[in-house]
Symmetry: D3
Subunit: 200 residues, 6 copies
């Protein structure tokens, strides 16, 4: 497969965006080229996770179909709160890519860069209310000791006003970032330089 011969392009500071080869955008299926164009319009650049994951184009397409569903806001679990779960899990796993990219997304969603950075680095000391702490505590439990999860965890979040579907979302988002963190760490995905200055 010719495109696997490509070297990964740089992510800035001389570091390639991935330890795996990255195909030319022009060689990608139309759906992905459209995804990349849309990203350029909305965020201003193509996130490196797309470029790195495009080594396996169909995998990227199907994974992203699933992934994006999880960030759709609902009444009691906002866009920002879904990003909070992303960064809380990523901090436990120490995932550079997700901390930088979703740290930026959280700054944007909250419109408060200081609060967003505090949540990213330690949600416990960020002054969050009890409801948000309960959500993030469960995300961390799912990450670090999932075998300890119990029906009581579900009841506890329901008691903080989440619907059953929203409790499920907390679980599915936390589980998803345990997937993406590992993909990013084991594939050596490096976040775009642009993220660092976004929404500051």
């Amino acid at each position: 497969m010719a495109d696997t011969e490509n070297k990964a392009p740089e992510s800035g500071a001389g570091i390639p965006v991935s330890w795996f080869p990255v195909p030319e955008e022009s060689e990608l299926p139309e759906g992905l080229r459209r995804l990349f164009s849309k990203a350029r319009e909305t965020v201003g650049f193509v996130p490196n996770v797309f470029r790195a994951y495009s080594f396996r184009p169909e995998r990227l397409s199907t994974w992203f179909s699933h992934f994006k569903m999880l960030h759709e806001p609902t009444d009691n679990l906002s866009v920002a709160e879904r990003e909070m779960i992303a960064v809380a899990v990523s901090m436990e796993n120490g995932c550079l890519y997700c901390l930088v990219a979703h740290g930026a997304a959280l700054r944007e969603a909250l419109g408060d860069p200081v609060l967003a950075d505090r949540i990213t680095l330690d949600y416990r000391r960020a002054g969050l209310d009890e409801r948000r702490c309960a959500i993030l505590d469960l995300a961390v439990k799912i990450t670090n000791e999932p075998i300890e999860c119990s029906p009581e965890d579900i009841e506890y979040l329901k008691g903080h006003g989440l619907t059953l579907e929203e409790v499920w979302d907390v679980i599915e988002i936390a589980s998803m970032y345990n997937f993406t963190n590992r993909m990013s760490l084991a594939c050596g995905k490096i976040p775009n330089e642009e993220y660092h200055a976004l929404a500051r």
Copy 2:
């Protein structure tokens, strides 16, 4: 949403298949009803992961589109070897559902129930060759200390005859079971009784 009122059906021995409600199969979208029918034809029953996950029907559909791609065999990473990664990761996380369901799948794929059980419980002592041990060692590293992954891990598996795409598959399968293990553990998914006697 009416179907969330349903109680989860039993998985045998008086335990429900999930801590979340499970909709009636008749209420599910056509695509999922077809998936359930096909499962009845091929394995003889509907895996409880489908029933439990159908609480969120679209999520099930998109996740499964991604998941099934990862079990497609290639020249140097067989159906059985992909199941080995599933069970090695699931043993690290202590995931009842995946150990039972993929333990059965591994017995079937290998046609050797003793070897399959040994790999499921401790691949290190199962008499595997160096290539398979290298694959499973990386799957465990991705599970337990993903931050320690490095380009050398990729080179090491290439040195054992895997293509770059297959090394990526090892990473993506290991990462995926870190997703499914957590979903199963935090949603209380219980494996079908039928799995225990399969392929013995």
Copy 3:
């Protein structure tokens, strides 16, 4: 010592029963030959732990005298419940030998292979009542963080109807499997193939 020159016999699938040499049965002291014969009568084969441990015949005899006492049932701690402690501890330590051998013993004791497998792999999700969960929780605490044990743990089990002698038994059985798990893992003891199909 001539018998240390022996190679360990196979446990099936080409794997020797131990990383240490295994003496010929005919060379063993009479007491052990009698033990082996009795095992053939009751379980139908000589458990590999006997063959592997017979590298040090007197050790095997004295250890087994102690070990077998711990599986004698009492009013509130049945044969099955003692095996549950064995598998719960062995799952924490990841001991292939004990998970296979005592998983089989638990299937036999319960007469319910599905329930037995569930307890072996994750007693927390096996639908056990509060009393049995309390027993296994203490066994796991003794295994993973024994320094955290306190007089309250003893009171708690007494509150679930165990006598003081039975609470002691929970502690002694859990401690014993922390011995046998390590012996099996560090000596490379491999369970007999026959166990896998027993009591299914």
Copy 4:
């Protein structure tokens, strides 16, 4: 059973020798009374582990038959080296009883209280030669990550001059202290005051 009504006697400083009741010596079987007498002759007092364990007299007898075998010296694994394994394992588990009692035994065996204390608290910085470090490293591996043990560990100790029987002894002693540490911690056994001043 009348003797279970007894309170445990004090171990000094107002702390009982066990969280379980301790029977009167006069009520014990003859074999144990002889064991206690012999201990008074040789060490000058009855070790609290005997008194605490005598809550279950037959257990004490059979366990001790096994335990004492493991401290018999051989050509390349002396009395002192066997005590070193005891304290290295006990330090990993944080076992008060065994650190005090076997710390004293090690002082006696070495005739060098400073070296003995150093080994007890951190054998890595005690100036031991490579052979002894290799023995204690394996004991610690068996304690903390037994699943990582491999045939290479056995070869490594053989390469330092131990016979196969002596390598087995290292494994069996390390495993045994993982039993006794847990028994002592979970039963609340407190070491005799006399140990602290012994062999200084």
Copy 5:
């Protein structure tokens, strides 16, 4: 002591700078008032660690005398490299205060906010050369498993061109941040809002 009645002032976003009371600056000893003034001149504000620590004025003075020595650059251990040790240790401990404050200091010292953020969140994937990785690997080892340190660690850094004094500095800085991280986490010290936008 009257000043202990003071409430801690806000650090922004409604969070107090400390879980302990914070005295008025005017009540502090002259030396500290001078330190605060100098901070206003050089960084533009008084770091919250000074305000929080001034609950115990003499402690702050003596600790800071020690602390500031450790950031004096030498030929082979620059200001930036000393800050790298600070953030690498703080990431292991998850210390919000130090990650924010020393993340800013590292951005300033490097004049490269992207590289600085990458090092702060995961130095392993920041494209550092072998010498800097060796320094940070030792800092992490000192943080997570100090008992495993050995004379070889010292030789290894000397082999990368550090003097013995500079190797000592790596150790002393890493140890110091294990002090400051714990002080910040256990006293609830919150970093100034200003740090987040500094040197971007």
Copy 6:
């Protein structure tokens, strides 16, 4: 620098007092020579931590100025209780130097060698009252999981009669021993032989 050429002197049993060179006492600044003299008068010898740390004379001076403040007794936190924090933290980190030196200091402060040794090795089983256990539990939490600290920990100790300043002292002493433990472990500091027999 000539004095770095010096070999470290022996600490007894052929082990040098440090993995770093140790300057001649005569070459040290006057302040340190006075400190050494005073130590000879009060404890009878120069603690090896002084000799080892004198490789960096100014560091030793400033660190010790800070360190000694933390051991000044107050109404509700005595000299002995401050030493208890030292040994509880040092046991968690497995620090040979601090366990030996502060174990001796605790024996002296308590005038009860048995109680002091018990606290040093496992304060949980030493028969301490609830107040002292609460203090040491917080010291251990600060050591092992500082991110879990919360304002409730402060309230809890206040509820046991400590002033806010004394709660701060518990935190600062526990944090300080996380510094000194790492310095001692990573620099290979070995305690003086004299400590082992002190105050017995």
